[in-house]
Amino acid sequence: MTHKFVLVTAFLVALVAHGFSIANAVESSKIVQYVVVDEDSLPSLNVPAILQSLTGKKGDPANGRKVVINRKKGNCLACHVMPISEQPYHGEVGPELNGVASRYQEGELRLLLVNAKFINEDTIMPAFYRNSGFNRVHKKFKGKTILSAQQVEDVVAYLMTLK
């Protein structure tokens, strides 16, 4: 009887441990893996970049504009002036984004959105596509990215219209 109990317990422990590892694996695999290319390997770049679309699809600039405005998604206007005149009070923390597409290439903008700390580790700009390595995240946001991969692509597509 005791023996049986031990066996069952051992099985449960194994199951729980296994369950945890599955959960962790799901968490980190939830985000699309990407490759960062730097200026040394591609001299046409001015800053490191992600050349491939995160979803393999083109972004939708109209939806990107909505994501940019949405305070719970991009909330870009908190810090950046943008050519979005129907929205009052644009922030001044970051650079103005008017004409940003003539200053950056698409892949550079993608990395700036995914995780700008690849380019400047001291930046205040949040990483919009990162789901781990944070300190004391609120449980509502644990294991989550600010934007989905497609939303990142949509914002990239929108920013590329700002010539």
Binding site: L77, A78, C79, P88, Y89, H90, G91, E92, V93, I124, P126, A127, F134, N135, R136, V137, H138, K139, K140, F141, K144, I146
Partner: protein
Amino acid sequence: MACKFIVFSIGLALALGIVHETGHAGEWGKYQVEDRRSGYTYRTKETRAMQDDDFQNPGMALVDEGEALWSMVDGKAGKSCASCHQDASVTMRGVGAVYPKFDIGLGKLKNIEQQINTCRTGQMQATPWKWEKGQLLAMTVYVRHQSRGMPMNVKVDGSAAPFFEKGKAFYNERRGQLDMSCGSCHEAYPGTRIRADMLSQGQGHSFPTYRLKWQKVGSLHRRFRGCNKQVRSKPYKYGSDEYVNLELYAGWRARGLPIETPALRN
């Protein structure tokens, strides 16, 4: 003769220039000490005018409530605050400028709210007041108001030093999904707009303060919790060691600035 006049003119211009420079450095009068500027200076003319006029400042209602509570007997010992501390305008003057401070009995820092509740549970044998409720807010406002105009002067050396260092480390530690520290905004970008709001230097010497956003008076710990939640981080509890240590660091950031309680902010 003409030459002398020119020299004199240049001298006069330089002298005036110096006077002008001095005037410029003190643009914000008592609300600026060296490079430290009170949150008052980042608010609109209208908000500042409302704070300046005690009849318009909505936080003054809590000063009145606190005054009434001061002499209200409560608890098994049959005492009020006034039983021990008599006239608050005399005995509490200066208290708001030096809290939070190290408490030997506790072996850590204690802020005004916690000292009020220590008096209640100890001397008065009354129940402690709840954080962020009317009575504790009113009494905290009333106590700090007795130091209005006095320069913030918290002690950060000696026994307080390790707690000050913890508060400073908290201020500069990134947290939450947005991965920002207090300093990411308040050190790097004071005077800069985030949407319609303007970032201050993140001090905290004039709390509890009336916030237009809250439409009521709130504690500094409520503000800390709000900031933590905004960067999508798990906030700490009201009165937690983390926030009391942070309160000391925030108070030090305002050293020399006059206490404004009840201040008015966005």
